[in-house]
């Protein structure tokens, strides 16, 4: 059984439609640690010791946030800057996070096809997520394929319900830990682990 930590960041949840629905779904999964960053640190004063302790006690770390300006809300950057310390998370002696898995759960305004060389944004979502992938690699972590909800600007409330269900299933599968971890980075999107064959771990 793998333990999952969700680092959630939404500066204006009261205006949100997608995350307002995803959040309670994810939160209610047994065994998931839900860390609401803006709620815990409204003054952006991150408690580094607490955050590092949370990282150490989990196997899979997922950032859940809206995809603002090809990146994350400000507090995630603040969190990365402060929590992933040199000598702890990276560097010659920084091996604290070795072997863990990191990934993003994001909501994106534009449809999937706009994130392609021919599309409106001219790059794939994976290319935009490069800073996260490299951050994970620098910290000796496996970077999982992202869980992306595309085209949310067009969604109505009901459309999101399906994504909410899919995300719940995905996280439960991650917790079950009955697949080859290294295959996570080969996938295009995280929900595809639902199609992976079950394996028994030694």
């Amino acid at each position: 059984m793998a333990s999952v930590l969700i680092n959630f960041a939404h500066p204006a949840l009261e205006k949100s439609r997608v995350h307002a629905q995803l959040m309670p779904a994810v939160k209610s999964i047994p065994g998931v640690t839900f860390n609401d960053l803006y709620e815990n640190y409204p003054d952006l004063d991150i408690n580094v010791a607490r955050e590092q302790k949370l990282l150490l006690s989990h196997d899979i770390i997922l950032f859940q946030h809206p995809f603002y300006w090809y990146s994350a809300p400000a507090i995630i950057k603040q969190w990365i800057d402060l929590v992933l310390e040199h000598g702890w998370a990276y560097g010659r002696t920084g091996k604290a996070l070795q072997g863990k898995v990191m990934g993003n759960i994001i909501s994106v305004g534009g449809p999937e096809q706009s994130y392609s060389p021919e599309g409106h944004h001219q790059h794939t979502i994976h290319e935009f997520l490069l800073p996260f992938r490299q951050t994970a690699r620098l910290c000796n972590m496996e970077y999982a394929a992202p869980f992306v909800v595309f085209g949310v600007h067009k969604y109505e409330y009901e459309d999101i319900r399906e994504h909410s269900r899919q995300l719940t299933e995905t996280i439960k599968r991650l917790q079950a830990d009955n697949f080859n971890i290294s295959s996570l980075s080969q996938l295009s999107y995280l929900y595809q682990i639902l199609q992976l064959p079950a394996q028994t771990q030694q």
């Binding site: 204006a12 803006y38 709620e39 409204p42 003054d43 305004g109």
Partner: protein
């Protein structure tokens, strides 16, 4: 009109000072020279407003020197003394011994008997603390290496007067039955008893400083009657002087000792600022008296002898000082200033001359002659320093810049002064301290001052709206003045004082409520902190969160509200300005609150941050697809 009445005399002295000091300053001669000139002119030689009385005045005016030494003492903390031990003992000690020896040898060569030569050597080796420090201070040169070295030497000299007074009776060949005109307790006692009395007096001053004066000041501070403080400060100095006279010791020295004992006390700044004006006035009086006491008749009789003596002695002293300066590695220009400044003969020479006359060590003729020499040499000091400033220093201004100058020694002058260390100021003070910023703290609650002092915090008792206390706390060099007093009236007084005399200070001012904030705005204060605003809003944020509001949103809401409120307040202040009236009645205060609440209603408190609001974007996307 009775020419000799006290009031008339006071009028003459004050008028002379007011007339001559500004003129002397204007033409660049300095205040000390102005006083001396005033003394010469109103003295018996020119106008004759003061004649015989000059001597009595001198007696009284020497009290200015006593006060000066008390103040020097009170500014000398043991740690500072310890840091200066090398220059005090080395430079000061060598100066007194060498100068004394050379001058004694010179006197011996001129045919004086050996004991008289020795006495003269000691008397003439001293320099004038009063004139030199005053002149150097006036020029702002106390912080220079020359100034610091001069200070050390003067300090040693002032202390050296004690053993000199002890040695003089030994030098006297005649055993004198009733030499001393002033009777002291020491008369007619065997040697060991005399020593005991002297030691006892010194011990009394130290013990009283430790165990009597501090509790006394505490009680007086609690009465909160300001004049009592001035009275007790004066009493301390006067009592020391009386005690020292009683045992036949120099009262200036006793005052110096008393000052050192009180240097660590939390009432130091207060005592300093209470004594300071008296010292200034009495020192001025002292300088006038020196000027008046110059006996021009004697000078006219032997002009060349006296002038020769003055110049000869000053030249010898300057030469010895210059060689010492070389040994102690002073740069040439600093060394010249050091030698020039200390070349005169000091006010203690008057005391020692009178004493030697009493012990029949010196005859009346020599005593009178030397008194004139001393007075003239003192009058020369400001002139010599003026000469240094105008002629010598310009040659060295370039070299001074290239050589690495040590920073001025400023003790306990912090960049921040906190006035008021109650529940408000203490929080700010603790915060700054936790971040490595030490502040000079002024507070009016004597119990609190005691407690903080015991904790080793730099806290001083005193009313921060007083100019001299602010000066003593280092307002001239500080950057920020935090005004956190409990009483709005006091706050306003301090603000006005600071704005008038220390316009460079950033004022950070606590206001108790909107009324005070308005008043401070009218005074042009830029940084106003209403004391309850932040706490009330923090409470409000917690309430919103407890009702299920998002933390980050509540936090931002409180900031938005705060900014809006400050803006509204400024608007109301402008309105209020037109009416120019002070809102005092409860009714008016309620009206004002109604205005504020109305402003709150008009403002929409909905979060207007468009960046996180996808509505317009969604609309656009929908339209383009249609």
């Amino acid at each position: 009109m009775d020419q000799h009445s006290l009031l008339f005399q006071s009028m003459v002295y004050l008028a002379a000072a007011i007339l001559f000091v500004p003129i002397a300053k204007k033409i660049g001669l300095g205040a000390v020279l102005g006083y001396l000139l005033a003394g010469i002119i109103i003295g018996p030689s020119v106008l004759g407003f003061i004649g015989r009385e000059g001597e009595d005045i001198m007696h009284f005016a020497e009290f200015g020197v006593v006060m000066m030494l008390f103040l020097i003492g009170i500014e000398l903390e043991p740690t500072l003394l310890w840091r200066m031990r090398n220059s005090i003992l080395g430079l000061g000690g060598l100066q007194v011994i060498l100068t004394g020896a050379v001058l004694a040898a010179a006197a011996y060569l001129f045919g004086q008997p050996i004991n008289v030569s020795l006495a003269l050597g000691m008397i003439l080796s001293l320099s004038s603390t009063a004139i030199i420090l005053q002149t150097l201070n006036e020029k702002g040169w106390m912080g220079t290496i020359a100034g610091q070295s001069a200070f050390s030497v003067l300090l040693f000299q002032d202390i050296a007067v004690i053993p000199m007074l002890a040695i003089f009776p030994l030098l006297a060949t005649h055993v004198v039955a009733d030499a001393a005109q002033e009777h002291s307790l020491r008369d007619n006692l065997p040697g060991w008893a005399q020593t005991l009395i002297v030691l006892g007096a010194v011990a009394a001053i130290i013990l009283a400083g430790r165990y009597l004066i501090r509790p006394l000041m505490r009680i007086i501070a609690r009465t909160r009657v300001r004049e009592l403080f001035t009275a007790s400060a004066l009493l301390i100095v006067v009592a020391i002087a009386v005690l020292m006279n009683l045992v036949g010791l120099s009262s200036a020295l006793g005052a110096f000792l008393g000052g050192v004992v009180l240097a660590n006390s939390e009432y130091r700044h207060e005592l300093e600022s209470d004594i300071e004006p008296f010292k200034g006035l009495l020192l001025g009086l002292f300088f006038i008296a020196v000027g008046a006491s110059i006996d021009f008749k004697l000078i006219v009789q032997n002009p060349w002898l006296i002038l020769g003596l003055v110049l000869g002695i000053m030249a010898i002293k300057a030469l010895v000082l210059f060689s010492l300066g070389r040994i102690f590695k002073l740069s040439i220009d600093q060394n010249l200033l050091f030698s020039f400044a200390l070349a005169d003969i000091g006010e203690f020479a008057f005391v020692l001359l009178a004493f030697s006359h009493q012990t029949r060590l010196l005859n009346a003729e020599t005593t009178d002659m030397l008194t004139a020499v001393v007075a003239i040499s003192m009058a020369f000091t400001p002139l010599v320093i003026l000469f240094y400033e105008k002629v010598i220093q310009p040659h060295y201004t370039r070299s001074e810049r290239t050589e690495d100058r040590k920073p001025d020694e400023i003790t306990e002058k912090h960049p921040i002064i906190i006035a008021g260390f109650g529940r408000f100021g203490s929080m700010t003070g603790r915060f700054l301290r936790a971040n490595g910023i030490n502040a000079t703290i002024l507070d009016l609650d004597s119990d609190r001052v005691d407690a903080l002092h015991n904790m080793g915090i730099n806290v001083y008792y005193g009313d921060a709206s007083r100019y001299d206390l602010l000066v003593a706390a280092g307002a001239a060099t500080a950057k920020i003045l935090i005004i956190a007093t409990d009483h709005p009236d006091q706050t306003v007084d301090i603000v006005k004082m600071a704005q008038k005399y220390f316009p460079h200070l950033q004022l950070l001012v606590r206001a108790s409520g909107n009324e005070d904030a308005f008043e401070l705005m009218d005074l042009g204060v830029l940084h106003i902190y209403r004391e309850t605003v932040d706490t009330s809003l923090r409470l409000g944020v917690d309430a919103l969160r407890m009702l299920g509001g998002r933390a980050y949103k509540s936090e931002r809401a409180s900031r938005t509200f705060f900014k809006q409120d400050e803006k509204t307040l400024k608007g109301l202040s402008a309105l209020r300005d037109d009416k120019k009236q002070y809102i005092s009645s409860m009714k008016e205060r309620i009206e004002e609150m109604e205005k504020l609440m109305a402003a709150d209603r008009m403002k929409s408190w909905l979060d207007d941050r468009q960046g996180w609001d996808p509505d317009t974007l969604r609309e656009e996307i929908r339209k383009t697809e249609d």
